[in-house]
C-alpha cells in the first residue's frame, strides 16, 4: 500500500489537521500574541506591543517563588512516583496471573475517577481533624495533630496519588514486552534475584521508566486542580497564577505571558529529556507518551 | 519455450530512494507453467511478486499479462490470486465467507456463490470445516482456505508467497504433493516465491534463482542443480564439493589421484576448478583406487549417511544411501571415487 497515491494519506489526515489547526495552533498563537500586549485596569487590553509582561514576571519575586515551588513539587512528585511505582509494577508483574488482573485494576482504575473526587478524598483524610491526624494522635505521635492541608506536602501526596498509576502502567507496558525466558536464562546462568532485576529487567524497562518519569514531571509541573484544592489559595504554583490572572484579576495579557512561560518550560524539559532518553519508544504511534492516560489529570 | 508467453516481465527495476531492490529482472511465463522465484532473503523475489500483484509499482520496465500492459491496472482489477505465508485470512469471517469474498466482489449471484464456494472448499478437502473461523483451524487448514480463496475467483495467475513456510516438515511435504497435483489439474499459471530450494525444485517446472536484485539463472530444476550457472547457484541449490585439478590429455590430476574428465571437458589444459555433488561420490575401503582420505565425521540421516572425508584437497561431503551395510567408522582411512560424467567445471565467479 506504500506510496501508490500521495493524495490518499493527505485526505485521510485532513479532517484532524483542520480541527487541530483551528482549535489548537491558532489559539496557542493567539496566546503568544496576547502576551505581548499591555494591560490597564481601566482601559483593558492595550493595543501596543512589547515584552513588558515578561519583564514584569521575571523581576517579580512572587513569580520566582511560585516557579520554584512548581519545580520543587514536580521533582518531589516525580522522584516519589518512580521510587514507589517501579517496584510496584514489578511486584504485580511477578504475581500469579489470576491476581495480576485484579491488582492492576485496583492500582490503575483510580485513573478513571475524576481528579476532583480524588483530591476531595485527600481533603477529608488530611484535615486537622481528618483520619490521618486522628490515627497519629491515637498512636501518640508527638506534635499531632499536624497542619497537613494547604501545605506542599499535601500537594505532593495528592499528585503522587494521581500520577503513580501512570508510572506503574508505563513500566507494566515495558514489562509486557519483556520475554519472560530472559529472566529464566539469567537465573540459569547463576544470577541472584536482585542481579536479575538490576542487570536484565531494569535495562529493558528503562524506556518505560524514562517515559513515565517525563510524563509525571510534565503533568505535575502543569497541574492545576491538585495544587488548587490541596495547596489552597496562598500556595500558588504557575498554573494557579495563570488561572488567577485570567479568571479573577482579569489581566489577560499577563496571564498569557505566564501561560507562554509555562508551556516553553514544559516543552524545553521534554526536549532535553527526550534527547537523553532513547527515542525508540517514541517512534511507534501508541507510545507517544507511553503508558497511558495523562493529560486531563490533576 | 515454444508455448506463447502469458506473463512477461520486461527489464523490471525497483528503487526505494537511493536503495535499489531490483536491478533488472526479465522473464516470461508460459500458460499453465509453474515457475519458482528462488533466492535468499533480500534477493528481491518478494518485491518482484508484489509488483506482479500490483502492490508495488516498478520504477522501470513493463509487466504484460496476456499481451496487456499491467502497469496502470490496480491490484483489485488484475484478477490475480494471492496466497501469503501468513495466509492473511480474514479473521472475522468463516472459511466459507473468506472464500466467498472474492465472488461477492465480482457480484456473483448468491446461488452461484454458494455452489462455487462449496466446490472450492471441496477441492482443498475442507468442505466439512466451512463454518469454522480461521482461529479454530490448524495452520495446514488455514493454508488450504487461503488457497481455495485465491482459486475460487478463477485467477488468470496464481501467486504463492512462501505458502508452506509456516507448516511443519511432514505437513509441508504433503501439501507440496497436493499443491503440485492441484496446479496440474486446474492448469492455472503459477508463480511461487520461496527461499527453500527443495520446495522450489519439488514443485516448479522452472526455477528462477535470484541474487542481489537480479536473476542469475532460470532453468528446469534439475538443469539448474546439475549445471549451475555459477558458484552461488551451485551452493544455493545444495551442497557441492570443489575439486581444484590440473587437466591435460582428457585426464586430470588432483592430490596425487588421476581421473578421467567428462567428454565436454576433455580438451581442457592446465588448472581447472571442478565441482561434484556429495551424492555423486563413492567411498571405497583403504587401498582402492581413488583420492585418499580419512573419515572425519558421519551423520546418520535416516535414509542417508552424510560423511565428511578429509583429504589432501580439503574436506569432502559425501552422501551415501543407507543400504543397511556396515558404515565406515570415524577415523577410518578411505578413498573417494566418482564417475567422470558427475564432474562439472565451475565458472570462477
Amino acid at each position: 500500500m506504500n506510496g501508490r497515491s500521495n493524495l490518499t494519506p493527505a485526505l485521510l489526515a485532513a479532517p484532524s489537521l483542520v480541527v487541530y489547526a483551528g482549535a489548537l495552533l491558532l489559539p496557542l498563537g493567539g496566546v503568544l500574541l496576547l502576551s505581548l500586549h499591555g494591560f490597564d485596569f481601566e482601559k483593558g487590553i492595550l493595543p501596543g506591543w512589547g515584552l513588558e509582561n515578561y519583564r514584569d514576571l521575571l523581576t517579580d519575586s512572587l513569580f520566582a517563588e511560585s516557579l520554584l515551588r512548581t519545580l520543587r513539587i514536580a521533582l518531589w512528585t516525580t522522584a516519589i512516583c518512580l521510587l514507589v511505582g517501579v517496584p510496584e509494577a514489578w511486584i504485580i508483574y511477578r504475581m500469579a496471573p489470576r491476581w495480576r488482573g485484579a491488582m492492576l485494576l485496583i492500582v490503575v482504575g483510580p485513573l478513571l475517577v475524576s481528579v476532583v473526587v480524588r483530591n476531595f478524598g485527600w481533603m477529608v483524610l488530611l484535615g486537622t481533624t481528618g483520619l490521618v491526624n486522628q490515627v497519629l494522635t491515637i498512636l501518640g505521635v508527638p506534635g499531632a495533630p499536624f497542619r497537613l492541608m494547604f501545605t506542599e506536602l499535601a500537594v505532593v501526596i495528592g499528585l503522587v496519588h494521581v500520577m503513580v498509576p501512570l508510572v506503574v502502567l508505563s513500566v507494566w507496558a515495558s514489562l509486557g514486552r519483556l520475554d519472560p525466558v530472559l529472566e529464566r536464562a539469567a537465573f540459569s546462568l547463576g544470577a541472584s534475584r536482585l542481579t536479575v532485576f538490576r542487570r536484565v529487567v531494569l535495562p529493558n524497562v528503562m524506556p518505560g521508566i524514562m517515559a513515565g518519569a517525563l510524563m509525571v514531571f510534565c503533568l505535575s509541573a502543569s497541574a492545576f486542580a491538585t495544587p488548587a484544592m490541596l495547596g489552597g489559595k496562598r500556595l500558588k504554583v504557575v498554573s494557579s497564577m495563570t488561572y488567577n490572572e485570567f479568571l479573577n484579576t482579569l489581566n489577560w495579557p499577563l496571564g498569557a505571558a505566564l501561560a507562554t512561560l509555562l508551556m516553553v518550560a514544559i516543552l524545553t524539559a521534554t526536549l532535553i529529556w527526550t534527547r537523553f532518553v532513547e527515542t525508540r519508544a517514541m517512534r511507534r504511534l501508541g507510545e507517544v507518551a507511553e503508558g497511558g492516560k495523562g493529560g486531563s489529570r490533576a | 519455450m515454444a508455448a506463447p508467453h502469458f506473463l512477461t516481465l520486461d527489464r523490471i527495476g525497483k528503487d526505494y530512494g537511493a536503495f535499489t531492490a531490483i536491478r533488472e529482472v526479465s522473464f516470461s511465463v508460459a500458460p499453465g507453467e509453474f515457475l519458482g522465484l528462488l533466492g535468499p532473503s533480500g534477493c528481491g523475489k518478494t518485491t518482484t511478486l508484489q509488483m506482479i500483484a500490483g502492490f508495488e509499482a516498478p520504477s522501470r520496465g513493463r509487466i504484460t499479462m496476456d499481451g496487456r500492459d499491467l502497469t496502470t491496472v490496480p491490484a483489485a482489477k488484475r484478477g490475480i490470486g494471492l496466497v501469503f505465508q501468513s495466509y492473511a485470512l480474514f479473521p472475522h469471517m468463516t472459511a466459507a465467507e473468506n472464500v466467498a469474498f472474492g465472488l461477492e466482489m465480482r457480484r456473483v449471484s448468491k446461488a452461484e456463490r454458494i455452489k462455487r464456494v462449496a466446490e472450492a472448499l471441496d477441492l482443498v478437502h475442507l468442505a466439512h470445516l466451512a463454518d469454522r473461523f480461521p482461529r479454530q483451524m490448524s495452520g495446514g487448514q488455514q493454508q488450504r482456505v487461503a488457497l481455495a480463496r485465491a482459486l475460487v475467483i478463477e485467477p488468470r495467475l496464481l501467486l504463492l508467497d512462501e505458502p508452506l513456510s509456516n507448516l511443519d516438515a511432514k505437513l509441508r511435504e504433503e501439501m507440496q504433493v497436493e499443491l503440485r497435483e492441484l496446479q496440474r489439474r486446474i492448469g492455472v499459471t503459477t508463480i511461487l516465491v520461496t527461499h527453500d530450494q527443495s520446495e522450489a525444485m519439488a514443485l516448479c517446472d522452472r526455477v528462477a534463482i535470484m541474487q542481489g536484485g537480479r536473476i542469475v539463472q532460470i532453468d528446469a530444476p534439475w538443469r539448474a542443480y546439475d549445471v549451475p550457472a555459477d558458484d552461488f547457484v551451485a551452493d544455493f541449490l545444495g551442497r557441492s564439493n570443489r575439486l581444484p585439478a590440473c587437466a591435460g590429455g582428457g585426464q586430470a590430476e588432483a592430490g596425487g589421484h588421476r581421473f578421467a574428465l567428462p567428454p565436454d571437458l576433455a580438451d581442457r589444459q592446465g588448472d581447472i576448478l571442478l565441482t561434484i555433488r556429495p551424492e555423486r561420490l563413492r567411498i571405497g575401503n583403504d587401498g582402492a583406487a581413488g583420492l585418499g582420505g580419512r573419515v572425519q565425521s558421519r551423520l546418520f540421516l535416516g535414509g542417508f549417511w552424510l560423511y565428511a572425508v578429509e583429504t589432501a584437497l580439503g574436506s569432502f561431503a559425501v552422501m551415501l544411501q543407507n543400504t543397511g551395510s556396515v558404515p565406515h567408522d570415524e577415523g577410518a582411512p578411505v578413498t573417494l571415487d566418482w564417475d567422470a560424467h558427475s564432474l562439472r567445471r565451475l565458472e570462477r565467479a
Partner: protein, 266 residues
C-alpha cells in the same frame, strides 16, 4: 503462585492502602447523618445520598457531562480513525510531523490550553457554550483515541487488506468489510477512554464553562471551593461507585491496561 517475598507483599499492601484510602474514605463519609464530614461514622444514614436528588445542579451537570463526553468522543473517533489509517498504512513526507502534532495536546499544559481556547472562543462568542466545550474536549481526547486506534491497526497484518484487494475489493470496500471490523475493538476502546477522559476533564473546562454549560467536575470543583459538606462526598461516592461498576463490566471485554496503553496484558 506468587513469586514475591513477604517484604514485597507488605510494600504492595501499603501501596494499595495509599491508592484506595482517599476513595474509600469518600464512600465512607458519604453515609454520615451529620451536617459535616464526620469520621468515624456514628451510624449509617442515606441523608446525603437523598440530598443529591434535591440538588438539581449536580444532576444537570451529570447529564451535561454525559452529552459532552459522548459528542466529543464520537467526533474524535471520526477524525482520529482516518488519521491513524494514514499514519499506519502510508509512508509520506511529513508523517513524523503529523504524529507529533496529533499527540501534542498531551504535552501542552491544560491551563495553557484552557487559556488559549478561552481567548480564542471569546472572539466568536463560543466561550461558555456546548460547542466550545466539545471542541476543546476533542483536542484533549484525540491523542488517546489515536493511540488505541493506532495500536489496533498495528496489530492488523496489512497483508490481510492486500488479500482483500487482490480479490477485487475497492479501497472503500476493503476498509468497510475488512479493516473496520478488525479495528473495531481498538476504536471502541479508544472511544471509551476518550469518553471517560472527557467526562473527568476539569482544567480546560474551568475556563470555558458557564452556568448554562457546566460539566460535573467543574460544578464539583466550584462547590468544594465554596464549602465542603457531605453532599460533595455523596456525589463523589456516586462517581466512584459508578466508575468502579463500569470498570468491572469493561474489564470482562477489555483489560484495563490494554484500554489505557493499547497494549495487551503481559
Amino acid at each position: 503462585m506468587s513469586r514475591n517475598g513477604p517484604l514485597a507483599l507488605a510494600f504492595h499492601a501499603l501501596f494499595l492502602t495509599f491508592i484506595l484510602a482517599p476513595l474509600l474514605v469518600v464512600i465512607g463519609v458519604s453515609f454520615t447523618g451529620e451536617g459535616y464530614l464526620a469520621l468515624p461514622l456514628n451510624g449509617l444514614s442515606l441523608r446525603w445520598w437523598r440530598a443529591i436528588g434535591d440538588n438539581p445542579r449536580f444532576l444537570e451537570s451529570f447529564w451535561f457531562s454525559l452529552r459532552l463526553g459522548v459528542t466529543a468522543a464520537t467526533l474524535s473517533a471520526l477524525i482520529a480513525v482516518p488519521a491513524a489509517l494514514a499514519i499506519a498504512r502510508w509512508r509520506f513526507p511529513g508523517r513524523g510531523a503529523l504524529v507529533a502534532i496529533l499527540a501534542s495536546p498531551l504535552m501542552i499544559p491544560h491551563v495553557v490550553l484552557g487559556v488559549a481556547l478561552l481567548r480564542f472562543f471569546s472572539g466568536f462568542g463560543l466561550s461558555g457554550s456546548f460547542a466550545g466545550l466539545v471542541t476543546a474536549h476533542v483536542i484533549v481526547i484525540t491523542p488517546y483515541m489515536l493511540r488505541l486506534v493506532g495500536a489496533g491497526l498495528s496489530g492488523l497484518d496489512p497483508r490481510i487488506e492486500r488479500a482483500a484487494e487482490s480479490l477485487g475489493a475497492s479501497r472503500l470496500t476493503v476498509f468497510r468489510r475488512v479493516t473496520l471490523p478488525l479495528i473495531a475493538p481498538g476504536v471502541a476502546g479508544g472511544w471509551i477512554l476518550a469518553f471517560v477522559t472527557s467526562f473527568d476533564e476539569l482544567t480546560v473546562s474551568l475556563f470555558l464553562a458557564s452556568p448554562s454549560a457546566n460539566p460535573l467536575p467543574v460544578q464539583l470543583f466550584n462547590y468544594i471551593d465554596q464549602m465542603t459538606d457531605p453532599l460533595v462526598a455523596s456525589v463523589s461516592a456516586a462517581l466512584i461507585l459508578g466508575t468502579a461498576l463500569v470498570l468491572l463490566v469493561l474489564d470482562r471485554f477489555y483489560p484495563i491496561d490494554r484500554l489505557l496503553t493499547g497494549e495487551r496484558r503481559a
